[in-house]
């Protein structure tokens, strides 16, 4: 009897907790979309101040270059090595350039660049905006009649949105070079075959364009999540810390989930 009562109480608590979590989730989703609307409505005015966007492109994009270049190179080298070991069994090692390029431009370029972007630039954006909120800098701007959404958030949003597709392209280019160093330089694949097969098999309108579309979508989502988490963070050190973690986790999950959906739409048949 007592056990039944305890089970009932526990069930009621679990249901209440579930309901609370669901309400919290939908509230945050609503606030995120309202912020996105504010950002979209403020875009025309923000575009009139390109110097603010350029400064943020430097912070978000240029400073992410090193990790993108190095990661792209290593990913390409691994692709070259693994691809060669598989293809050589079938006598098809001349197709290494095609395999490396297609893997990069269709999948790994946009996805890995977005994941690296979330870890390097997204977390930095969230922490910066969260700390500006914690130290009342955003409130001070509001009291100076300066809209922090237009002055702080939109330039960062646009910088991230423009930067990620470029970073993904650079990642893919470095990966192709990495595959070349390993495949042609170390394993002896014919240089002409590496480039000509790639040129013949990689179709710009399908493979490259779809990769670009993916990276644009990932850029939009990654920077939206990063900015929202920072702006919505509780103004405490713990709040900013949790928001930064959430940015990386949510962006990674969103990018991987969206990648499946986009791949299914683009290449699903």
């Amino acid at each position: 009897m007592l056990n039944l009562e305890a089970v009932r109480t526990l069930s009621a608590r679990a249901m209440a907790s579930l309901g609370h979590s669901a309400l919290n989730f939908f509230e945050r989703l609503g606030r995120g979309h309202l912020l996105l609307l504010q950002i979209l409505f403020g875009l025309p005015a923000a575009l009139l101040r390109p110097n603010l966007i350029i400064a943020q492109i430097y912070a978000v994009g240029v400073l992410s270059l090193l990790i993108i270049l190095v990661s792209g190179l290593f990913v390409g080298m691994v692709l070259g090595l693994q691809g060669y070991n598989t293809l050589v069994d079938f006598g098809a090692e001349e197709s290494l350039g095609t395999v490396v390029a297609l893997t990069l431009v269709r999948e790994l370029g946009p996805v890995v660049a977005a994941l690296l972007f979330a870890g390097r630039a997204g977390s930095a954006l969230t922490a910066e905006i969260g700390l500006m909120k914690t130290t009342e800098q955003l409130s001070a701007m509001e009291m100076m009649a300066v809209d922090p959404v237009k002055r702080v958030l939109i330039p960062r949003f646009l910088a991230g949105f423009f930067s990620l597709p470029l970073l993904a392209a650079i990642f893919s280019a470095m990966g192709v070079m990495g595959g070349y160093f390993v495949g042609v330089g170390l394993l002896g694949v014919d240089e002409g075959a590496y480039w000509s097969q790639m040129q013949a098999k990689v179709v710009f309108n399908e493979d490259v364009a779809n990769g670009i579309i993916k990276s644009i979508v990932f850029g939009f989502v990654a920077v939206w999540i990063a900015i929202f988490e920072g702006y919505d963070a509780p103004p405490t050190s713990e709040g900013v810390s949790r928001a930064t973690t959430r940015t990386v986790v949510h962006t990674s999950l969103a990018v991987l989930g969206l990648d499946f959906i986009l791949t299914a739409l683009m290449f699903g048949g």
Binding site: T135, E136, Q137, S139, A140, E142, M143, M144, A145, V146, D147, R151
Partner: protein, 276 residues
């Protein structure tokens, strides 16, 4: 005749708070307060910690919305304004945050220049002259190239003050301007606030715990407690007031209408409960 007298009276009042109600997490912060801030005067809002003094400044600035009641600034109902008109009104006022709230990624000079660059189309040479004038007024012209992280707490607040007066506002609100200041910085800030108010013809609202310092420059004081205005008057009136609230607060008595202890169940009961 009566109407013109009322209008003349209205012109003397910059901020008019009426029947203000505001609560947070179910706790009433304000339970119907009325406050008038007279033009050209220094009005102090005082009271024990947690009475919502900073919240009141945020309500006046339109950053928070009351549950009931109105706040008029220069005759405009702050919370009935559109966003555009609210931002226009905010150009005529400024808030000096307790932390200073300087923008940490730009220098002292750029912090003071920030509102000028955002709201005016003045040439850079003119902005430079204005910024140096404001920094000279707070004694920090020599620190214009420093970054906010290189400033002491007192210097940060003086830079924030220079930024607050950059657009020559008609209303300046100071949130705990003397908190954590050494005696020299406190003296400098006191003189600055008083001097700026007189020289620039501004109206000031000071939120503070520091009774002696605030009473030295305030023209009128409101004492807040339990969500209400419990006493008001000039500093001299409050010092000799027979109100128990005013007596406890103005003389720093440990117990009185404002209890030392946060509401809790009886001490002995809680100890016994813990043992059992």
């Amino acid at each position: 005749m009566t109407e013109s007298r009322a209008e003349a009276n209205d012109e003397k009042i910059v901020v008019r708070v009426r029947d203000l109600h505001f609560s947070r997490s179910g706790r009433a912060i304000f339970d119907g307060i009325d406050i008038d801030v007279a033009r050209g005067k220094i009005t102090a809002i005082m009271g024990p910690s947690g009475t919502g003094k900073t919240t009141l400044l945020k309500l006046i600035g339109g950053q928070l919305r009351p549950e009931a009641g109105t706040i008029h600034i220069e005759g405009e109902n702050v919370h009935a304004l559109s966003r555009r008109r609210l931002y226009k009104l905010r150009r005529k006022m400024s808030l000096l945050f307790q932390s200073g709230a300087l923008l940490t990624d730009i220098s002292v000079f750029d912090n003071v220049a920030f509102p000028l660059r955002e709201h005016t189309r003045l040439p850079e040479s003119m902005i430079r002259s204005l910024v140096l004038t404001k920094l000279e007024a707070v004694g920090l012209r020599g620190a214009s190239a420093l970054m906010p992280s290189e400033l002491s707490g007192g210097m940060s607040r003086r830079v924030a003050l220079a930024r607050a007066i950059a657009l020559d506002p008609m209303l300046v609100m100071y949130d705990e301007p003397f908190a954590g200041q050494d005696p020299i910085s406190m003296g400098v800030l006191l003189e600055l606030i008083s001097k700026l108010n007189r020289a620039l013809g501004m109206t000031s609202i000071i939120v503070s715990h520091d009774i002696n310092e605030t009473a030295a420059i305030a023209d009128f004081i409101y004492l807040l407690a339990n969500g209400k205005v419990v006493a008001s008057g000039t500093p001299q009136q409050l010092k000799v007031s027979k109100s128990a609230w005013a007596d406890q607060f103005m003389h720093g008595l440990p117990d009185g209408p404002v209890p030392f202890h946060f509401p809790a169940q009886p001490y002995d009961k809680e100890l016994l409960d813990a043992q059992s």
